[in-house]
Symmetry: C2
Subunit: 268 residues, 2 copies
DNA sequence: TCAATCCGCATGTCCGGACAATGGGACTAT
DNA sequence: ATAGTCCCATTGTCCGGACATGCGGATTGA
């Protein structure tokens, strides 16, 4: 490049370099008449563009000011949209550089999901067999986990989860009384979490432990395994957004038919 | 105040009800001379107050406007501080009601952490024995997982992790060449993630699979187990913030000595 | 006594602007 | 060539204000 001598303090305007992706042109638009928040409309469109490859990994998003001007939005609104995608792990911001699409195939981060929903969305035709659905006095351990008084009663539900007709998980759950009524037919038609949401319970968080152990005689038989076979185990305590403990569960999985898969994000 | 009868449309000022926690008085302050962002100073103080019980679960935080005025900050700044704690699961906002501290004992959510750091912070005196530290040509599977060309070479590291002198995990890791140099002494002194961070790699996300299986003869011996004993397994692919794959690992754990424990938040 | 209605409160959304801080490239001097 | 310096682009932080929206309690009416 000949680089003509420039007068003092004069810089040549940066030319888009062939190797580097310039600002991507996208058809973005927002509907001010919609009740959907503007930042949400924008973040959804950006997410869809990433999903469909219209925004390629590594490409810059164009600076916020210009993007805001192009859409007729303010910068805070644009920033709010971008921030939500950064939180999802789809974008990375670098001060002085810009915002770019993350290369790797980011799926969804680990979320508090029900086994039933996971199987269903994976096309596994889940089925549930409710084996026990009663009310029992709590043991000291369960009382501690659920945070209820030691003499009280709780729901006890034992279910066998099948996929493609084969047993996959054996699940024992305890729930405080009065939160929701556990109808066996409903329990066989859907998952526990969906019932809780339908009952107006807003799930907030859960504490989980995943481990493994050898199958005992009875639990081996439940899952169609041999005694001593390895089992994948999960224990979970779930809280709603008021802080109440809404569920405690102990699950065992056949490891040849189920494993936990998820994506983690670094919180920085 | 004797509360004189008010004219039409006049409502008596709400008196703090004895049963409900009123707005909590806290000593909060920000230092405008500090380079630490104001919203971050505030969120840290709030988090510390929750941690130490000065903000009790269920108590209201006081409305944002008043809080901003008391601290001499603007509402957006206060909101940013509060939002970061909501994202951490420590606070819950309800429109028309206020922001309150979550009841349950929220620990930290699941983060992309190293086994070494976890053990160390739990006071388990972790030790590492590096068994293999070489460069090998990739197998097709590893090449696919790491996203490198099929003829190329990669680092291969095999380590045995001990806690209290007992074997707990056997870890095999593959890394692309050129990212960092793997010194065996350093690998025995700390964890792999810490080495990566020290080499200027910014971790972004990881894809994990947790399962279980019966131990084969050789892996049983490595962990001091019997053949056929249940093992907890984990596979992980880690990406940095530029989208590069920086590590692929296959780990096996003795389930009587290790399990995965974490907290999940519902993303709403 | 109970249901419908109204109203205030607190958060949710959005705007327009200002200055700071950082990363990288361009230029300069060695 | 190489190291150092300067400047610029872009995001980070912060402000003050405005209106919208949903929840809950108090009032009102049947």
């Amino acid at each position: 490049m000949p680089l003509p001598v420039h007068p003092a303090r004069g810089y040549a305007r940066a030319v888009p370099k062939p190797g580097v992706d310039p600002t991507v042109q996208l058809e973005l638009s927002v509907d001010r008449g919609s009740p959907v928040p503007l930042y949400f409309q924008l973040s959804q469109q950006l997410e869809a563009a990433i999903e469909h490859g219209r925004l390629t990994p590594g490409s810059l998003l164009g600076n916020e000011i210009e993007l805001a001007g192009r859409l007729g939005l303010s910068r805070p609104t644009v920033r709010q949209a971008i921030q939500s995608l950064v939180d999802k792990g789809l974008l990375v911001r670098r001060r002085g550089v810009g915002t770019q699409v993350v290369h790797s195939q980011v799926k969804r981060p680990l979320e508090l999901s029900s086994l039933y929903d996971d199987l269903e969305s994976a096309g596994h035709r889940p089925a549930t067999r409710v084996l026990v659905n009663t009310v029992v006095p709590v043991s000291p351990e369960i009382a501690a986990a659920l945070g209820v008084a030691e003499g009280s009663d709780v729901h006890r539900v034992e279910r066998l989860r099948l996929a493609h007709g084969e047993p996959m998980a054996y699940m024992t759950n305890y729930l405080p009384l009065g939160l929701l009524d556990l109808d066996t037919r409903q329990l066989e038609a859907t998952g526990l979490y969906r019932l809780m949401r339908a009952a107006g319970i807003t799930l907030h968080s859960a504490r989980q432990t995943i481990g493994a152990r050898a199958a005992g005689a009875t639990e081996a038989e439940r899952l169609g395994e041999e005694r001593g076979a390895p089992l994948l185990t999960m224990q979970r305590v779930t809280f709603d957004d008021t802080g109440r403990t809404v569920e405690f569960g102990t699950h065992t999985y056949r490891p040849d038919r189920y494993s936990f898969e998820f994506q983690l994000l670094v919180r920085s």
